[in-house]
Symmetry: C2
Subunit: 359 residues, 2 copies
């Protein structure tokens, strides 16, 4: 084939337009989420977070409590036909208003409901931790891959402005070479929560809240930690911790040489924070992982100290998270926190548990 | 012997007075310190810290630099006859104005100069880390024990008001049961410092500044940690870290189940802090270990949040430290931070280094 440079230019421009079409077209379209599990995070955070979105809306609900589901359906204009129970969950396959499911169930149910969603031809946004085992995590990734559906883990902080600002400062080299990180995240858990049941939760505070520190150390450094050593303990003898650890402290090392020390707990309040130390400065984010109030302070050589409370008056962090998957679906992009991101944390947490003698 | 209850009472009272005499008498007396090593900590901190003291004064100097020593001698009214070099250090034995020596030499010299001081019949206040090996630390304790002289390690923070306040809050049960601690302390070291020489320093940032976190975890919990796991790394390839570690991150577990995660570094600025988490609240001290500016914040269930900058407008922390040994000498009491305290840290640090593969 013999074409001139000018013809090539025209072809390229045409191709560019063609590539743009699906996206241009998709601007008109919103992504419908089916909410799987009506607990606190769904009802008080995820669904209200979708309200202001122009990219997505709640189109279906899955719950074992019909009355609760009907109340939420009324609030979100979900038709009665789009309310499902767990027994007829697979029927979501026939509901064209559902593009994606949001899985907010106890950890042990994440794998099953993700895989069934994939089989029903739906994209998946799954809460953290991704699953209760590495094997389940891999099966989830494979199930979504096979049907070419997106799988995104709800690592909310990766879509939250203050955490993004911290990442950007680091990527811009403002702190110089990163060498060490401290982080912690924990809370004093109420007796009777499913999180204390090892079968349902897969583990204790590490799986539930320590995973924020672990994930943060990974997105802050942009590296995968390679070695892990830690200790776990149970101090409260009030019967809460017969199945999972109460406290867990670990240190990890990254290939570059960065070291990180982290704490997590279900026995004591432990405000979520991280501080990152580089050769040219340090930054501290606290609160780092909560639903609101994020604040970044930093001391950088030769610059005025930074003190940045969340600039946007704490809009819901759930909006940009839900919007991100919507965009990925509409533009056929890989989510920033795909199943692989969740799997890495699962693999790392298994290693941390092994180092603590809790295999 | 047959004595009445009343006679017994009189005897007891008489005995009490007798016991009181040395102390009552000693109120008039000040303790004379011989400063061994005229570096930054001696000249800029310890000696000025003694100036306002009513318990002690500088009565002698040991230095390899006669001119520097003479300048300091003039400032502190030390007679020329009480200026020693390292070659005639043992002559301090004959100087009755010297009760105690303050050892502020490179770490590797602590043992020798402590043991020689004991042989000269002097009490010893030795800078941290106590020595460069566990064996040397034991030898120092034994040398002082044999001649019935005090050996105190200069763990300044144990005499500093904000750290004491933190300890008190914990002992008073304000935080409930302590379960987890985070701490860090580090700085970006200049090339050429003796601290980078393994033989002189005994180790890297762990020995020099990480020891503050270790010691703090011990005085905050009142327990000895039993297990240690960590990682060290060298990232800067500028030649500073050919002998000692650059970064070190470790976690440790106490018999009660308390876990602690700590970081230290010579490669990055790492403001000294600790936060202690209990079942009823938490406290955060930062700066925790510096020469001034200590600040404690705490959130305790059912109480107003605490925010306590050092209440005494940052008087020298060196005054109460020097005064404490003076009191111990005058009252024949064991120092609050005796040689045994330093030895424990040395044993623990050796375990941390072993866990990092740096035996």
């Amino acid at each position: 084939m013999n074409i001139t440079r000018r013809e090539l230019g025209r072809l390229a421009a045409a191709a560019a337009i063609t590539r743009m079409v699906p996206w241009a077209h998709s601007q008109d379209r919103t992504i419908g989420y089916c909410i799987v599990g009506l607990g606190r995070i769904s009802m008080q955070h995820f669904m209200p977070g979708i309200k202001p979105s122009k990219r997505c809306r709640v189109t279906a609900l899955v719950s074992g409590h019909r009355d609760k589901a009907e109340k939420m359906a009324a609030e979100y204009n979900v038709p009665a036909a789009s309310i499902y129970g767990y027994e007829n969950y697979d029927a979501i396959a026939g509901n064209k208003d559902i593009d994606a499911v949001y899985i907010a169930l106890p950890n042990s149910m994440h794998a099953e409901y993700t895989i069934r969603a994939a089989k029903a031809g739906k994209h998946v946004l799954c809460e953290k931790p991704m699953a209760t085992s590495v094997a389940d995590s891999r099966a989830m990734i494979e199930a979504c891959r096979k049907v070419a559906k997106k799988l995104m883990i709800a690592y909310r902080c990766q879509y939250e402005p203050t955490n993004l600002r911290a990442i950007q400062l680091i990527r811009d080299g403002k702190l110089g070479k990163i060498q060490a990180i401290e982080s912690a995240n924990g809370f004093n858990i109420r007796a009777g929560e499913w999180r204390l049941n090892r079968k349902l939760a897969g583990g204790g505070p590490l799986m539930d809240v320590g995973v924020y520190s672990l994930n943060a150390c990974r997105y802050l450094t942009g590296e995968e930690p390679r070695e892990f050593r830690g200790y776990s303990s149970v101090m409260d003898q009030d019967g809460r911790f017969t199945e999972v650890e109460e406290n867990l402290s670990w240190t990890m090392k990254f290939p570059s040489g960065v070291v990180a020390s982290c704490n997590t707990s279900y026995g004591v309040g432990m405000p979520g924070f991280y501080r990152v130390h580089g050769t040219k400065g340090m930054l501290h984010v606290e609160p780092a992982f909560g639903y609101q109030g994020q604040r970044l302070t930093a001391r950088i050589q030769g610059e005025e100290p930074l003190d940045e409370p969340n600039p946007n008056k704490d809009p819901s962090q759930f909006t940009p998270q839900a919007d991100h998957l919507a965009e990925c679906i509409l533009q056929n992009k890989e989510p920033k926190s795909p199943g692989q991101d969740g799997l890495q944390d699962m693999i790392h947490m298994a290693a941390i548990y092994r180092s603590c003698g809790r295999a």
